[in-house]
Assembly symmetry: C2
Homo-oligomer: 465 residues x 2
Amino acid sequence: MVAAPDPVRNSQELDEEDNTLRPSFLRKVTEALDAEDQETVYNLVEPLHPADIADLIELIGHEYRAPLARAITDLLGSDVLAELNDWVRDDLVDELEPDEVADLAEQMETDDAVALIEDLDEEDQAAVLAEMEPEDRAAIESALSYPEESAGRLMSRDVIAVPEHLTVGALIDYLRSDDELATEFWEVFVVDVKHRPVGTCQLSWILRTPREVALADVMKRDQTLIPVTMDQEEVALRFQKYALISAAVVDGSGRLVGQITVDDVVHIIQEEASEDILRLSGAGDGDINEPIALTVRTRLSWLVVNLGTAIIAASVVGLFQGAIARFALLAVLMPIVSGMGGNAGTQTLAVVVRAIATNQLTSSNTVRMILRELRIALANGLSLGVLIGVGTTLIFGNPHLGAVIAAAMVINNLVAGLAGILVPVTLDRLRVDPAVSSAVFVTMATDVMGFFSFLGLAVITGLAA
Amino acid sequence: MVAAPDPVRNSQELDEEDNTLRPSFLRKVTEALDAEDQETVYNLVEPLHPADIADLIELIGHEYRAPLARAITDLLGSDVLAELNDWVRDDLVDELEPDEVADLAEQMETDDAVALIEDLDEEDQAAVLAEMEPEDRAAIESALSYPEESAGRLMSRDVIAVPEHLTVGALIDYLRSDDELATEFWEVFVVDVKHRPVGTCQLSWILRTPREVALADVMKRDQTLIPVTMDQEEVALRFQKYALISAAVVDGSGRLVGQITVDDVVHIIQEEASEDILRLSGAGDGDINEPIALTVRTRLSWLVVNLGTAIIAASVVGLFQGAIARFALLAVLMPIVSGMGGNAGTQTLAVVVRAIATNQLTSSNTVRMILRELRIALANGLSLGVLIGVGTTLIFGNPHLGAVIAAAMVINNLVAGLAGILVPVTLDRLRVDPAVSSAVFVTMATDVMGFFSFLGLAVITGLAA
């Protein structure tokens, strides 16, 4: 341990390129576990950073998790648990007694302890809380009283709040004198007599200012305050928009009740963006550590909804069975029209869902964006229509068929563009998460209209007569 | 300006719920612009935060941007430009002379100035750099010498680096004495005589420690160092994994050359996650501010690739034209099998692409994940197969047809699950971004196998004889 620190962290265990644990390292751990050699396991894991221990527990097979946990009990601190995937953590926590969970929770910051306890069922929650020190229990119970995914659950109560008249020197003396104060903070909040924030001081400004200067002269008065009930996604967007490192959380009467720091927000930004991609595709939370039965249930319920829309689309084809029997080439070409519409609709949908989620698409520019998507749809539809129309004419020597498929392609691209923006915008106005349910409606629109426009035009123009 | 600060920032102009500019405010601005009333425009915009001014410029119609910029020239500081969307910024910068751009760049932090200048064409870049102070120019030229999207482009050169033997008191005196030092920093880096980082000190620890204590006793020796050539996505993953606020950037010989702070990383995490969703759906960058011709080109090239795969799938149907002519119901039901396979494949694909991007799916657990997806695919396939098989039997009174579609559904779900994980994992091993090209292969697999299994089984079992 006297050796100079290695410039790259834990280079023997971690792959240098993507900073993940090497398969060879995992193999060593599982081999030692198979041999029930707890000492070797401990020695292998001990040099790892807590975040990497969390990764190891996630990456290792389910059957190895309990033996691994037993071999490294005293390395399983609150910092490892805080980094663990929710499902894996629940697995581990289920093995522990309430007083052990309480011990771990007391070592954690409030927000991490809340994350640990909020997932327990009510009975276990009560048992764990009963084992905790009154002060920690009060903090956690108060956090649990706020809605899930709100600022109140996310915030830490350990804030440095000082009155405005203090000088820089007096503040530093105060920080040095009181052992009970928080040690991890990035800003000092200045409050009035009613404990309402009036300004914020970045620590670097404090360190660069002479002792005799008043805080009132260093602090920034203009600050972003987070209401305690604000949804975590909105919190994340404000951190991002205003490039915040930490922000004061205030209750309904404007009093300072806690702070949120950017390291908690980074996880949320990642999660919320992943959520959109996974919901759009109907994969639920898409968590690879989720119990498999739950994954099947989530995905299957989405597939069944899609089965319904597929049947509706098929019944449109059913209307044209006679035409298809007379001219089977229609059945060969019809999936091209519906499929291309589906692709174009998905493109628009992905763009619109992200623009809504990041507050780039607001009621101020909706009309402009609808016109933009329609122009794109027209340009793409015409290009694809000409391409497939000419191709069909040449291959099958049938200009009538070429004209029909070209026209259907233009129509279905316009339907795709229109549905791709109107469906998510409408759902958002109705306060339904557009990522969850848009895809069903858009796909149904492009399937139904793809079949209907192609087969319908074929029949109307006498192609399959 | 003497009024007490409002708890919610700019509440008249901003929608309280989602913190976006109100349409009514935008209307006031455009009306004033239409009336060429620059003073009203200025007074409306002046109270806004720079990030909101940036939003205003993005939200307002293209035709209003130049007049707006003229009306608020002295509000268009470097902080507004740094927040602007790349495309919108390029639009504005095109209107400016090189010396004006140089003035703005000099006010910015190095990383923001680089972002502003790297998008200019070579000639404009040279003209702007020629107008800058030698010191700023050297910093930007050196940043531009690193690859795009690398840590070297992202980092700021303004770091506080001090020797190990310093005491807390001496450090504070040094910070107070030197006006040239950075004012915005979150950690102090401790370096050895060769300027290699040996530890890092969070400012809150410094503030809580008596003056006589040596930095060596407060600093954390274990730190995450970022190589200057590291890709920004990897940088973001490390910030997230180790909950970093700032990190030292080192060159090839381990010397400290700059620092990256979390506020720059937050943007990257958001961007990289959005990128995945947009690329999966073939929408390119999906930037709603992009010139429309570029958007059409990006999306169209993806659609043409998909047209190719749709034609391949259609040609599979073409093999069975005779059977379809004899039994047109096959054409009615076949899109159900292919479509459901497509949905299931998309689910798996979304989960796998995100798991790869967030380093949750690594070579250590690939096999386990493939088996997991196969089990899910089997469970879903059997459920959907029974559902559609029984339904078909009852509706059409044809158990043979029911058995064929049920079997095809099981087969295509397995194909979907297998393709949904094998395609992105293989592309990732080949160092191709799985988000960009996976969807084409997976959709082709589920379309082709959907048609082939359903129509093939129908013919083999003599259903359409």
